[in-house]
Symmetry: C2
Subunit: 292 residues, 2 copies
């Protein structure tokens, strides 16, 4: 039966939990937000309130007690840390608390829904539902079924996604990294190889990209946004699965060792705030230019 999603529970009040809650609240849905840290919950709530109307924020409920809301929601979105064991345990616990027809989804970036489907206790009402970090201004939400996800579940999520003003992109089957992240990883891999081989400086790789695509940021600027530590961890996982080479992981490690993690530490491939690639003359100022 096709379920209409009306009330949503988000598990985890980190960056993604906050952004997803905001998008849903802004479209006048009720959001319950759970975290096992009271501090995190209150911090997240106050950030959300700064970006919503009073009417919208009145539809936000924070809780540390899942039992009291187990009959109140139609959709549970998991946004906890990218660790399979943690996610599996969480879904096993959620399964004991929520009715069998509540849809469970994971916002994982790199794990596959089939790895957690049994833990959810509702394979047909389970899939990956992946929001992109807002940093690229992405409107896309990936819906990635595993082989037992029901068509009704996908339909319900598609309808809900459109209602919260985002674009659902349904994958035909599982793939680590969805579509965009798969392509993005290959961009990062080839960009890093150009630098390691000594063909071009980091900045010139970004220049070539920006000058040719018209984008306002290049591969290394994006890595600073993502966090070089995160990129390193993804690289290690993908290298183990032969999806990427180990070169990337080793390259990132040198920066991570020196505390250069990107924007969040004030320095990565560029220095922040005001990274060089945002300079008006960045394109015309290629580093590899010989002095005239």
């Amino acid at each position: 039966m096709l379920k209409e999603v009306k009330r949503v529970l988000i598990i985890g009040s980190g960056t993604m939990g906050e952004q997803i809650a905001l998008q849903i609240l802004k479209n006048n849905y009720t959001v319950y937000l759970y975290d096992n840290s009271k501090d995190n919950l209150f911090t997240c709530k106050s950030k959300i309130e700064q970006n919503t109307t009073l009417e919208q924020s009145e539809k936000l409920f924070i809780t540390e007690n899942l039992t009291e809301i187990s009959d109140k929601v139609d959709l549970v979105i998991e946004t906890v840390t990218e660790n399979l064991k943690v996610k599996k345990e969480l879904f096993r616990k959620l399964n004991t608390l929520f009715p069998k027809e509540v849809i469970f989804v994971t916002n994982t970036s790199d794990l596959l829904p089939s790895w957690m489907a049994k833990d959810s206790g509702r394979e047909e009402y389970f899939c990956a539902y992946h929001f992109h970090a807002p940093m690229y201004g992405a409107d896309i939400v990936d819906i990635m079924p595993h082989s037992k996800t029901s068509i009704d579940t996908i339909k319900s999520l598609k309808i809900f996604t459109k209602r919260i003003k985002l674009i659902p992109l349904v994958l035909k089957k599982e793939n680590p990294g969805y579509i965009y992240n798969t392509i993005l990883n290959s961009i990062m891999d080839s960009s890093i190889k150009l630098v390691i081989k000594g063909v071009a400086e980091i900045e010139d790789v970004d220049r070539a990209w920006m000058g040719n695509t018209g984008m306002k940021i290049g591969p290394f600027g994006m890595l600073d946004l993502i966090g070089i530590d995160t990129a390193m961890n993804v690289s290690i996982i993908k290298a183990k699965k032969n999806i990427l080479s180990y070169i990337g992981a080793a390259f990132f490690k040198k920066f991570v060792k020196n505390g250069k993690l990107g924007i969040k530490t004030g320095e990565g491939f560029y220095k922040y705030p005001n990274p060089k690639y945002q300079d008006e003359n960045f394109l015309r100022d290629a580093k590899s230019y010989l002095k005239n």
Copy 2:
């Protein structure tokens, strides 16, 4: 000695020859254009005249006789077909006609300048000088030296590039595909794999790309612009050198066999004119959507 480039000879009046001539003429330099086909020369000349002022087009001279202009130019830009043997023979011939200090450059996309440097008879005055097709609105020109290219040659080309209002990007050493094309090839390769593996439809790959980057065209739309036959040939060369997998070449072949070469034949991954990805609702209209 630093040479100032004032008069340019372009060899080949195909798309790239025409576009390069146009850019140089618009910045008030004198251009000689050579082709071994009189018809091609006149067609090209008339196209150029439609896009230049009278004063600018008066600085364009077409010729089928290289001997008569061998003392008139400072820079020779080769834009003939992407075939190493043809280019090597051409440079050997040019070397017999032009003074030793005239700079010779190749606009090759995928060959390396070191493969032709000796044929030019002027290794220090020889390098790759690569204009991007205007389709992406690229302002970048790649300058790729081989190990014997002189610093003065690079400097002369840098100054000239800036004077014709383009951005010179000097590579530190040879690399097949420069910077942008190297990254672009990896994008194409991973996009094709997503389709072959059955993860996503061609259109949805482009949607994911466009929705996340904000670009107005995705990987498959770009391939239609490049020409699927050209992409196939590049893939075959790169697969032989283990730079890309053979998967891409085989994938392209199916389209090429059916005469679907992209824009130039009216159909490739999309139909032209008015390809679907230019529709206002393209992003919101994902092909893999189940009907609601």
